[in-house]
Each structure stands twice: as C-alpha cells, then as structure tokens.
C-alpha cells in the first residue's frame, strides 16, 4: 500500500489573516511539501496541472524534475495530467525525460479536469472531452511502446515515422492511473488497459465512490487482467489534525467556512459525516481512512490533500509531521492485516521492469523450444 500527498496548487487567501501567498511562495511551498513528504516516510507526491488562476502548477514536469533532484525515494506523480488539452506527443517525451532523471520514480494520473474555457485556449472543445481522453491516451501508449509510430487520428496532426525521445527508461513506460470522479467511460478506459483507477472521493459520499470502484473492478476482470480484487485502485482523502480533536475543529473551522471548495455550503460537521474529510485527532483520521476499505475493497494507493483551504505552509508541515509519525505507520500495519494474498501492490518502475524481463525470458524460452522443434523436424 502506498501513501502520499496530492496537491492542486491553488493560491487561496488565509481567512484568519487575510494574507494571500504570492505565486512564487506557493510554488516553493509545494516543493517544501514534496520534500517533507519524503522526510516523513511517504511514498508519493503528486501535483495537479492547471492553466488558470488561482492555480500555479502549469508545468508539472519542471516542478517534478526539481523535486526529483532533491529527493531519493519519493515516487513523483500527477493529479492530474490533462490528457485532453496536452499534446500526447509532448506528454510522452516530457515524462520519459522525467523518468530518466528520476531513475524511474515516476508515474502519472490522467484526467480531463479542466474548466470549459481552458479547452479553446489549447485549441480543443470540452464537448469532445471523453473522446480526447480516449484518442490522446491511445496515441500516448503507442509512443511509449513502439519505436517508430505512423498514426492518424481525429484531433491531432498525423505522424509519419515518428520516434518519441527519449525512449522510456529500460523500455518500461511509466505506470498510468486514470482519475475520474463520475465518468464511467474513464473507469472503463482504465479497466480496458489494465491501468490503475484513482477515484478522487474527497467531495463525494461513500456510496458513490463504491459504485464507481465496483464498476471499474468488474470491467477490469471482464477484460481479463485478473480478478476484480486484483484491480489497481487509488483513493483521495483530506484531513486536518491536532492531538486534541476539539483543537483541530476550532483551528480548521474558519478555513473550512471560507474555502472556495467548501465554504458557504454545508456545515463542517455535515461535510465530515458525508465525505472523507476528517477534522480531529490522528486516531480519528486512522479510523476514517481504514473505513475506506469497507466500500472500496483492499486498494493500492491512498493520497491525502493537506495543503488546502488557504492553510499556511507552517501549519501544513506540522500536519505532515503528525501524518508521518502517528497516522501512516498505523495505517500501513492495519491495511496489511487481512489483505488477501492475491491483491497486488501498486506497480512501480522496478516491479514493471521485473515483470517485463520475466515476460521477455518466457518469450525467449518459447522461441528456443520452437527452434528445437523445428530442428528436430
């Protein structure tokens, strides 16, 4: 089971001080959070991608390349990479480059997640969102898996004899998760390829998440990648902790009440009851996170959103300390208990490389056996 942080990179005023960080401060804060994630023993840091204010992360590979140089073991990922408005050729090249620089510590989460106006800014149309996700990703897979690609499609200029460079590290493309909240077409896409499915459940009640994850698991098995239990599932979650749960509620309430994504709607109490948001003690966070397994099954990746609602960096880093010291070690232990033997871990570069070599050996053996047969004949 992997644990990590996912950020969206919003620049939000701190409602308790009225202060808004500069873009530069926010970008540096995201890097500090990534480094802290490694320090406290998390597995993954994922950055969002946006091309409109108030968000800063428009260039994820620049950020992740910088983070790669300052970390040793952290897996660098995205939340999400826009498979709709980005050119799949550029994605193939950018992330293969990152893979080499980060010694394979790279995977990606694909998403459509941008607002209407962003599409035309990049020459696309939001009404084609699903189709763009399907065609662009199909091309991206070929660019990573075939040395020379001839391709023609609906949305992009054709390619003749094109080789995307650099080639993926060790010939193994980064593992891909498909992030979707409510589109069965994307869960279907993840299932078709045997890729991971990440359900960002942070604003959703459990029964909705359950429906989407079950759908993906069923279709994963339908396409012959394994049993439904072996499908690769990731979930989000967002928490605010203090040792004493009353302190957590008191401190977080003004942030919740004013945050662009939470504020002026249901109360903090209603919201925490209905969604993964947990505001309380580390023990409460542990209990709530463990309960995700009841509706999503044994899953592979848990990402927390920690730098939200305008919380200052200092507070976020304190939160990460609590997460690393008191929450994640217990979660690792508890999630391991009762985990069926057939449920795989989330794929990493190493595990994919090992699998590819094994498959290569098998193929070679098969060929040898065939050659022998021919020789005998």
């Amino acid at each position: 089971m992997q644990f990590g942080i996912f950020t969206v990179g919003d620049v939000t005023p701190d409602p308790t001080t009225g202060r808004t960080p500069t873009e530069g401060e926010r970008i540096k804060a995201m890097v500090a959070i990534a480094q802290k994630a490694e320090e406290i023993g998390l597995d993954v840091f994922a950055t969002g991608e946006h091309h409109n204010p108030p968000f800063v992360p428009s260039s994820p590979t620049t950020m992740l390349g910088y983070v790669a140089a300052r970390t040793e073991s952290l897996i660098l990922s995205t939340s999400t990479t826009l498979i709709t408005t980005n050119d799949p050729v550029k994605i193939a090249e950018d992330y293969a480059m990152l893979q080499h620089l980060a010694d394979g510590r790279v995977d990606l989460m694909m998403g459509r997640g941008n607002t209407g106006p962003v599409y035309p800014w990049f020459g696309q149309d939001i009404r084609e969102g699903i189709n763009l996700a399907i065609e662009n990703y199909a091309l991206l897979r070929r660019l990573w898996r075939e040395d020379v690609v001839d391709w023609e499609g609906k949305f992009r200029t054709p390619l003749q004899g094109f080789t995307s460079t650099p080639r993926p590290l060790d010939g193994v493309p980064p593992f891909v998760w498909h992030g979707s909240i409510r589109s069965p077409e994307i869960a279907e896409q993840a299932a078709y390829y045997g890729d991971g499915f990440f359900h960002n459940n942070i604003f959703w009640p459990a029964d909705h998440t359950k429906r989407m994850v079950e759908f993906y698991r069923k279709r994963y098995a339908h396409y012959g990648h394994g049993t439904p239990e072996q499908a690769i599932v990731g979930l989000g979650g967002q928490v605010f902790m203090r040792k004493n749960s009353q302190d957590a509620v008191r401190e977080f309430r003004p942030y919740f009440d004013n945050a662009p994504v939470y504020g002026h709607g249901p109360s903090l109490e209603d919201f925490t009851e209905q969604t993964p948001l947990t505001v309380g003690s580390p023990q409460q966070v542990i209990e709530k996170t463990l309960s995700f397994r009841e509706y999503a099954g044994d899953y592979q990746r848990q990402l927390f959103l920690m730098d939200h609602a305008g919380l200052p960096l200092k507070t976020v880093l304190e939160q990460l300390d609590l997460l690393g010291e008191e929450v994640v070690p217990v979660l690792r232990e508890e999630f391991a208990k009762g985990r069926p033997a057939g449920v795989p871990e989330a794929p990493t570069h190493q595990s994919l490389l090992t699998a590819a070599r094994k498959a290569g050996e098998k193929k070679a053996e098969g060929k040898k056996a065939e050659d022998k047969k021919e020789a005998v004949a």
Binding site: I134, E135, P184, E185, E188, P205, R219, D270
Partner: protein, 191 residues
Amino acid sequence: MRLVVVSAGLSVPSSTRLLADRLAAAVQRQASAPVDVEVVEVRDLAVEIAHNLTNGFPGKKLAAAQDAVAGADGLIVVTPVFSASYSGLFKSFFDVLDKEALVGKPVLIAATGGTGRHSLVLEHALRPLFAYLRAVVVPTGVYAASEDWGAEGLAERIERAAQELAALMPLAVRREGPAVVPFADQLAALQ
C-alpha cells in the same frame, strides 16, 4: 410499478400537493398493474438542494429522492407558478438530478396558480424542460387555478392525464448503476 410524485408546494396544506395526490390516485385507478406511490416533497429538501448546487453532491435525503426518481416507472411533477414559470426550487431539484435520470421516462406535468391566465405555463415552461431531459411527457398537462377547485372540468382532465401516464408506465426506461459503453466501441467511433 413504481410511481414517484414530485411536489414543489411550499405551504402546508398545499394546493400543489392536493393536486399531486389526486393525480396519483387517478393513476393508481387507471393502471393495469398495482402502483406503489412515493411522494417527494421538494420543500423538505430545500437546504440539501442548495448544498448540492454549491458542493456538487447530494445529502442523504436528497440522494434517496434522486434514486427514487431514477428508479421510477412514471413521474408526476407538480409545481406552483412563480413569476410566470415553475418555482426556482422545483427547477433546482431537476438541475441537481443526474442528467440521464429521466431519459425515456413517462412524466405527467401539472401546475397550480392563482389565476387561469397562467395555464400555458405547462406548455411554455414545463414541457420544454422535460423535453430537454428527454422524458416522455404525456399529451395532457393539468393546470389548476384557484377557481378550478370549485368548477367542473378539473376531474376529467385529471383522469385523462392519468390514463395517458398509466398507459406509458409499463414502457418506461429505468436506470440502475452506470451504463457500460464497451471501450472498443468508443475507440472505434474515433476512427
């Protein structure tokens, strides 16, 4: 068969609910098979509807109402007339409903108002809304102005509309869970 009644009256007692109940009883009488009736009072969901608009997901009571509507074989929808149209709360209930939930579902549209001069609200406001949602709207809509409650004609219109709805209910499209669009078909459609 399952009949869901969406009533957007605001007062208690409400003439909107009164009309809704009469329509539901008429459908039960006219249907060829037993009909279970569930009433959704939009008033009771007002706060959750507002939260759904700002938040993107329904609270528990609203989610239950949405599931009931999606799983119904027929719908009766009744709104009071506000400023020459359906009430904003009535519209908001459908705004936060899954946009596929009413596809192929028979719907009887009805409204109440203070004066008969608003009776075309059914045709210029409600019918286009449910046509957009790809529901099958029965030909007869029932509008009841204050004066209709003491006049002849309302009972006949109720029976006629109910008969039309009852006849369509066995043909309803019901949705349970996400629909599978096989990936190969999606990919092929692009080539």
